[in-house]
């Protein structure tokens, strides 16, 4: 029935789901995928996950944990 679905709808934007997952602390990629699946029911594929992560990282909204290699400067 319309309006009563539990699906996240437009809130299923990958970057929003990734930010939501990381809100409670740093996670590894696979942990983000399982967390998103747990709270939204959406199975996010690795290609989608890392596409969103790279955009968020470029904007400075997330950053890699200390010790993680970053790409060399252009």
């Amino acid at each position: 029935m319309r309006g009563t679905s539990d699906r996240p709808g437009r809130f299923a934007e990958p970057w929003l789901l990734v930010l939501t997952s990381l809100a409670d602390g740093p996670k590894h990629g696979y942990a983000i995928m399982t967390d998103i699946a747990a709270f939204s029911g959406i199975t996010m594929e690795p290609g989608t996950l890392y596409g969103a992560l790279s955009r968020l990282e470029r904007r400075g909204w997330v950053r890699p944990p200390a010790g993680r290699r970053t790409p060399p400067p252009l």
């Binding site: 989608t48 596409g51 290699r69």
Partner: protein
Amino acid sequence: MRPGLAGRLSRALVACHPRRWRERYGEEMLEVLDQHHPTARTVVSLAASAVSARLDPAWRTGRLSLPRLRRAALISAAVAAPLALVLGPVGYGMWQDSYWHPAADEPLETAAFSPHKGIMVTAFGEAIDGMDMVWDVTDLSRPQRLSQFEGGQPMALSPDGRTVATIAYSGQAALWNVADPRRPVKMTTLSDGDGSKLEELAFSPDGQILATARYDRIFLWDMASPARPRLLRALDAPVTSPAGDGPIPFSQQDLAFSPGGTILASATGTDQVTLWNVTDPAHAYRMATIDGAGDFIQAFAFSPRRKLLAAVTFHGTVLVYSLTDPARPARTATVRGLLTRALYPSGSPQPEETPLCATCQPASYAVAFTPDGHTLTVVVDREEMSANSGRDTIFDWHVTGSGTLGAVTAAARDVADFQPVIAPGDRFVLGSPPGSHAWHAWALP
């Protein structure tokens, strides 16, 4: 998609990302793939990710520089040079093949005519590489080539000008629809179950029967439906080589229908012409055998008006037979020494004239009556070693009502060259110089 395959594809797609992207996320992503169970969706998402990253300027590895360009050019050249060495000759060969002419160096072998439609079909080259060309000869001074096709040779053109019969590469007769002479279309290949080489083809005057001749057999086909010919009769007609070590004629079989279409003549035996009654083609039978005066029959023709058959032998003897009673042909004329007269018009060999080699084909012949039947024309294509080509001599005789021949009324020399063909019903002879596709038409005197 099987999980194993999806996993391998996923890992390959990770490697397809830009180098800078792989340095940042490649290791992580491979770890994720180790824990994840890749599916077709995984493969699609990674492919989209790779394309997106490739298009993203942020992941490009530096700017183009001259040294990088030079290095790329060197690598490209190192790859391209061996490829060019290998593929170049292959490509050149393919390009040459697209212009390859199966019978580029072959002279005219034969020609078939459809006088009512002004269409002529010429054949160049041997059966294995024969090329046929369709011409509009309505105005013979300005012939127009309408089309060409690789149909083999020799060939016959049906009287209505709609069907060409050729000897295909397979050795079988092939039928081509030339109703639209600009677009010949192959209709079918006749299969008579015989593997030997087909020698000759001829349509009956009404176009209802096609006769095909092999070395020792003649086949009669019902051509009521040219796309689906029906074998009516097979006739045993053995042709053997002349006795001794002499030269063997190029054309070992010849066929001609009488003007009324009731008699089929074929060269048989060592020196004979056999007349077949083909009034009922399905029950055709041998009617008579004509003696060839001890010499192999090279060419023959029926008179269009009178019941006469003229033949010319391998060494240049002209024979005329009366077919008033076709079962008992009677020879009415014999003219010997035609080849000698063609070779030595002055009566004896001149010092500059090189004698023929012993095993050469002495000459090729074409024989025809004029449409009124009053004149017999024989074209002698004499082989001259000194000229390295044939030169034609044309003889004409007046033919009496009883079938005897008067004195030679005309003798033209060197008017054509190589493999003459006389157009039936028309007064011209075709010849073709060796080494070209050109043909010449000479009006007969």
